[in-house]
């Protein structure tokens, strides 16, 4: 088939989108995009340069990017093994465990923050031991921000990776094993590359969720500029006095996240 023929087939295919899919898709897209349009319509564009130059804003943006990335790294480190266990493990209580993993998705984040305090706080189960033995307090620190973000965002990664693992063809792993590859080699050289798109999608969801995290962060980590004040916290506080400033700050966060995600997507995944 020549290149022309291929592109001709593509255009023909593109035209044949069933109305039963197109109509709800357009309505859904409008629902997702219109609120953003609403924000854009109220944006005082002239204020943008002044806001961008504010040191507090830059500190919040920097902290947000660093902590969300750290939370994603932690989620990958612990979440991928959890997903593997849930997809491939054969043990009693697996479905209960799978349900428990999604608890942070359902829990209101503020409650998640209180739960984290009850464990890692100064009087918490783990926190009181850390405080008395090593004089370490986690709340109100950047570590607390990362922990809060990891708590709420790791389930997104786990659910995504587990779905990919269940969809992956087991025969490739079996073939590799037959050819003499050890279990760890099979995992790193066969399984992981096969589910890479799922891992990437999960990591993106995880990062995006961590970036927007508010409730658990404000409850567990508090709000201190430069240390625990992430962009969503700065936006919320701006909202108390100045709606327009809050909109500008949200747009900066949105723009940065869209740029990061779009550039990653181009680099790491082959666009179809």
């Amino acid at each position: 088939m020549t290149m022309n023929a291929i592109s001709a087939t593509r255009t023909r295919r593109r035209r044949r989108i069933p109305a039963a899919l197109l109509v709800p898709a357009v309505i859904g897209l409008a629902f997702l995009i219109l609120p953003l349009a609403g924000l854009l319509a109220r944006t005082p564009w002239t204020e943008l340069p002044a806001r961008l130059a504010e040191p507090e804003m830059l500190a919040a943006l920097r902290l947000s990017l660093i902590t969300a990335t750290a939370a994603t790294a932690l989620s990958l480190l612990f979440g991928v093994p959890i997903a593997w266990l849930l997809a491939r493990g054969d043990f009693p209580g697996r479905s209960v465990l799978r349900a428990l993993v999604t608890v942070p998705l359902v829990l209101p984040p503020v409650v998640g923050g209180v739960a984290l305090l009850l464990v890692f706080g100064r009087n918490g189960i783990v926190g009181s031991w850390l405080y008395e033995r090593f004089d370490i307090t986690i709340p109100f620190s950047t570590t607390a921000v990362v922990l809060a973000m990891t708590f709420v965002s790791m389930p997104f990664l786990i659910v995504s990776v587990e779905g990919s693992l269940r969809g992956a063809d087991l025969r490739f792993e079996e073939a590799a094993a037959t050819l003499g590859a050890g279990r760890w080699t099979v995992f790193t050289h066969v399984t992981l590359p096969m589910v890479a798109p799922g891992v990437l999608a999960g990591a993106v969801l995880c990062w995006a969720r961590a970036l927007g995290e508010f409730g658990a962060t404000i409850t567990f980590a508090g709000n201190f500029p430069g240390r625990t004040q992430t962009m969503p916290l700065a936006v919320y506080l701006a909202l108390q006095t100045d709606l327009e400033a809050a909109i500008v700050l949200s747009l900066i966060l949105l723009a940065v996240s869209v740029i990061v995600l779009a550039s990653l997507r181009d680099r790491w995944t082959a666009t179809p």
């Binding site: 009850l118 508090g222 709000n223 625990t228």
Partner: protein, 256 residues
């Protein structure tokens, strides 16, 4: 199995009916007129009590409250929420409503003063603002009324104090203390009184420099303008003022 869906449907309908009742006073046919009061969250306990008394004195009249942060309420009002009365925890948010043409000639009806809340028994022996040096304490962010007051009080004391966290509202500031994460918290006297089973309130003189004044106004587009005026007047009379004093509020004219 048959019964289940219908049960669920009944429950859903019930829930819908409940929400309908909760949201729209006007929807209740047959009931008397309803005065809708948008009030700052810190007024919750006192205003609920005052609302009951107002209803008892006004046959057939209902009082409905929407309690939230003053800035949220100001935004709701300027965006056209149907309210009769606005009671704000600070003058800045009332000014927003006035500037938007939603309210006119607000009247101060109460004042609130900061205290240092400490765990019951005061284990760290805090007696003044400067005793907070070296302790972990929580305060509100300067963007919210209790934080502006905290900043002014610390400034008046002339001490160099930095909290470990700038909370978004006074209730979460107090929560950090009741959860044991901080040694002290700068909160309103009324919040400390509401939590007096868990915390002690230490008064400090510098808080007089940062009195929060609560203004109230009947709204321009009030669905029930007469009742709005009546409720506002009622709030300034002795009976309601006694309830406010009981909750820890001061008279507005004590402003320094």
């Amino acid at each position: 199995m048959r019964a289940r869906p219908s049960l669920a449907a009944a429950a859903a309908l019930g829930a819908l009916a409940l929400t309908a009742c909760g949201n729209g006073g006007q929807a209740e046919a047959g009931a008397g007129p309803t005065v809708t009061v948008f009030a700052a969250a810190s007024l919750t306990e006192a205003f609920t009590e005052i609302g009951d008394r107002f209803e008892a004195e006004h046959e057939g009249v209902m009082v409905e409250f929407n309690f939230a942060g003053s800035s949220d309420l100001a935004a709701q009002i300027t965006e056209g929420a149907p309210a009769d009365v606005f009671a704000s925890a600070d003058e800045a948010n009332m000014d927003k409503a006035v500037e938007a043409g939603a309210a006119d000639s607000p009247t101060p009806f109460a004042a609130n003063q900061l205290v240092i809340a400490v765990p019951e028994g005061n284990p760290e022996g805090v007696a003044s603002l400067s005793d907070l040096t070296g302790l972990d304490f929580a305060a509100c962010a300067e963007q919210v009324p209790c934080g502006a007051a905290a900043g002014a009080a610390i400034g008046a004391a002339g001490v160099d104090l930095t909290p470990v966290t700038y909370e978004t509202d006074v209730k979460s500031t107090l929560q950090k203390l009741t959860l044991g994460e901080v040694d002290a918290a700068l909160v309103y006297r009324t919040d400390a009184i509401a939590a007096e089973s868990e915390v002690d309130a230490i008064a400090f003189p510098e808080s007089a420099a940062a009195l929060s004044v609560y203004p109230i106004a009947a709204l321009e587009d009030a669905p029930e303008p007469d009742l709005a005026a009546e409720f506002t007047a009622y709030l300034l009379a002795d009976d309601a003022q006694a309830v406010l004093r009981e909750a820890g509020f001061q008279a507005p004219d004590q402003r320094a």
